[in-house]
Amino acid sequence: MTNVRPTSFFEATARGRVAKLVDAGSFREFCPPRLRRTSPHLARLNAPVAFDDGVAVGSATLEGYKILIAAQEGKFNGGAVGEVHGAKLVGLLDRGIRERPAAVLLLVDSGGVRLHEANAGLIAISEIMRGVLRTQAAGVPVFALVGGACGAFGGMGIVTRLCNEIIMSEEGRLGLSGPEVIETVKGVEEFDSRDRPLVWRVTGGKVRRALGEATYLVDDDIDSFRSVTAELLCRYGAKPLAVADIDEVTAEHARLAERAGRFATARDGREIFQASGFVDLDEVSLLPVAKFNQQLLEYI
């Protein structure tokens, strides 16, 4: 019983995720560590820096499709976005407009703005959001892959939702305000951030999939992320990205308003699962991914 074991996406470093996600050896890094584009803000604060400022960006192929890819290192400052980190992401998205890859992949593992960098961090996040929209407007899809320890929160949560498709593992989380922030501001009765099952029922991959925000729910292994990404690349290759027209946007707004109304009083992912057709609510969180996906499709 040895190691033909799948490689955990959750456990891997950002570079480890890229290496195993893309076609072997195809990754060409932009702004590599040897260029030492480190954060001047962290240095001024006497905090340790990383040679890549916590994000690896570059080009690669995936099942032969040309892609641009960015992977945030969640273990460095919680994957938070600072000026240099943000500039690398924006630069990548802009490059996407010039080079027109099959897609830009964002491996999001971030709590959002790097508070140390204050306004520089905030500006960086907003530039990333605009970058995503610009790249999409140029006809290049942007996919988010969320499965790390930090999840996708804060400004990066918004960036993730701007993407055309989101692939999540059940270990991944997607939200805006972080659980601790909610508890601090609203009190523990409103949200107990130490109730980890609750946190995952509200922000985890399964509930995001049930709500339809995540397109795919996959097992925590890089191969699963890869094969589902390949499916998306194929699908978008066949039917290129069209800019949404005003009717589509209005319909989407109406749909979101209806959904917000339907779940106005829901306080827990259990209610989402129930509305999605799951019967044994205690079992949902322990269901293997394949079973969960199968049952979800049956109910839809």
Binding site: M1, T2, N3, R5, T7, E11, E170, R196, P197, L286
Partner: protein
């Protein structure tokens, strides 16, 4: 024998006194059953000043309701107590000392209350009789520390007072036997009173009273280690342990001291050890609590038998589904027994391996630190050579030969290993010239420095740098260099005599990963058979049900 008629010798004073106590207690009980609201008055009625009172509680099961009730007793009636306890775990255990009702304590371990205890000792508010290892304390219950009153915890009682202690039987049989058969008073708190027990663990004859506690006694999941926290360094040390010690000596029977280092070993069995062809050759028989991290090894067929000191929260269904492995009653639930498991670890195991905080140049190992009087629990017993042992095993014979030093009479030897990273958090060294235990002894007025495992019992030391075999050292100087040779970049390690260490390495006394054929780059978390709690649940086929704090689902 001549007896003066003025002073006849009474040979049944204890039982007469007990009868008197029970007569006083009758007012607050119906038969053996005491109503929840009457317990404090009952305690006041049956406890007398100066009594030796044993309060059951290990680091898992606690007689917490009885402890709280003791705190409510009238200090003028319930006073001058001599407390006997395995573990001082709850704040209540020290509150009663602060109330001035206790004059003396004998115990084994006090982890959570160690700082507070040290403060009370310093203030002169309590005398410590002695700190013991568990089996030693139980032993004294039968010699010179027999409890007069025992406050115990059980899962259930029937109307007669028979008790079911179930998976968490733990210390109860040892405590109750000593007390009941010296005319003592046994009072049990139970979670429920039922018509029929699943099985009888303690017969009603041995029990004086039982009371239903308002809330079930708390059990701490102390032996659960989340694999998510296991580091690459711990995995490297586990590889060194498996290849350099377990495989080397063919260790089939063993005990693991609790910790992430040993959890890493458990999780490497189905992967790394299996790759080395060691299934069936090592780790078959265990004295061990039901560690969730052992599940993959059990499922992979490494393990034949596990006897436990106590149970572990969340493991009940898994244990019941594996009755060939664990000790399970006809009723389907486990029975643990700390006294027997400690004896098993001492005499029937070929290896103890555990972690520590400090090791000195002789190999003395201690977790004692200034300002905390904590004791060592079962480690001194597990981590000592069993000189009364007579049956042979290959590992025992080999260790005996290696440690023989030209002795005319050959004998065997138990393997006792300490596994520790050379630096702890904040770069605190694990290897020191002088243990903090010396300072603690001075400040707390102890006769001896509190040592967990003595240097002359330790046979091997494992760090991230390598493994030292102290058995093969011929002189104290060699022993010191063998320790320095694996002490990494601590001051002790950097003070090594390089040439001597190279010589020891040539003789196989000190071995580094490359000497064992271990590639350090293989030491990564992919080698773990389970990388998080959920993996353990899946490995158990859904039978393991982790407590809340370990879940994120």
């Amino acid at each position: 024998m001549n007896q003066s008629s003025e002073n006849p010798v009474m040979w049944d004073a204890l039982s007469r006194n007990s009868t008197a106590r029970l007569e006083r207690g009758a007012a607050f009980a119906r038969g053996r059953e005491v109503a929840t609201e009457d317990i404090t008055r009952l305690l006041e009625a049956v406890i007398e000043p100066g009594d030796r009172v044993c309060i059951e509680g290990n680091n898992q099961k606690q007689a917490d309701f009885l402890s709280r009730s003791l705190l409510k007793t009238d200090p003028s009636r319930v006073r001058d107590l001599h407390l006997l306890q395995s573990v001082l775990a709850l704040p209540e255990h020290l509150d009663i000392i602060e109330r001035g009702q206790v004059s003396r304590i004998d115990f084994s371990f006090s982890g959570p209350q160690a700082g507070r205890l040290a403060a009370l000792v310093e203030q002169g508010r309590i005398t410590i009789g002695a700190i013991h290892t568990y089996l030693e304390l139980f032993s004294r219950y039968f010699i010179d520390l027999t409890p007069r009153v025992a406050l115990i915890a059980a899962q259930a009682a029937d109307r007669e007072g028979n008790l079911y202690t179930g998976p968490n039987t733990e210390d109860t049989p040892a405590i109750v036997e000593a007390t009941a058969f010296k005319s003592g008073i046994v009072i049990a708190q139970v979670n429920e009173v039922v018509d029929k027990l699943p099985r009888v663990d303690i017969p009603a004859d041995w029990v004086s009273y039982f009371v239903k506690a308002p809330t079930p006694h708390h059990i701490e999941p102390l032996f659960t280690r989340d694999p998510a926290h296991i580091t690459e360094i711990q995995i490297l040390m586990a590889m060194i342990a498996i290849k350099g010690l377990y495989a080397e000596y063919g260790i089939t029977r063993l005990n693991h001291g609790i910790g992430f280092d040993t959890a890493a070993i458990e999780l490497l069995l189905p992967t790394y050890a299996a790759e080395l062809g060691l299934k069936g050759k090592i780790c078959t028989h265990w004295a061990l609590n039901p560690h969730p991290t052992l599940i993959p090894a059990i499922e992979a067929g490494f393990v034949k038998s596990v006897h436990s000191f106590g149970s572990e929260v969340g493991m009940e269904r898994y244990i019941s589904a594996r009755p060939d492995i664990f000790f399970v009653g006809n009723d389907g639930s486990m029975r643990s027994n700390r006294a027997f498991s400690q004896a098993a670890g001492h005499y029937a195991c070929d290896l103890f391996i555990g972690s520590t905080l400090q090791i000195d140049l002789e190999g003395n190992s201690s977790t004692a630190t200034k300002g905390r009087i904590s004791g060592f629990g079962g480690a001194p017993n597990m981590g000592s050579d069993a000189r009364g042992r007579r049956h042979a095993s290959p590992a025992w014979l080999r260790a005996g030969r290696e440690g023989s030093r030209n002795r005319a009479m050959p004998r065997g030897r138990k393997l006792v290993a300490q596994i520790v990273e050379t630096n702890r958090e904040q770069m605190q060294p694990a290897f020191v010239e002088r243990l903090d235990a010396w300072e603690l002894a001075e400040s707390a007025g102890m006769e001896l420095p509190p040592v967990m495992i003595y240097g002359d019992d330790i046979t091997h030391i494992i760090t991230e740098e390598g493994i030292s075999n102290l058995l093969l050292c011929e002189t104290a100087e060699e022993r010191e260099q063998a320790i320095r040779g694996v002490a990494g970049y601590t001051a002790v390690g950097m003070g090594r005599d390089r040439r001597m260490v190279e010589n020891l390495r040539d003789r196989g006394i000190v071995r580094y990963p490359e000497d064992l054929g271990i590639n350090k780059r293989d030491a990564n978390r992919d080698l773990l058979a389970a990388r998080n709690i959920k993996d353990l649940v899946h490995a158990s086929g859904g039978l393991y049900s982790p407590p809340r704090q370990f879940r994120n689902w």
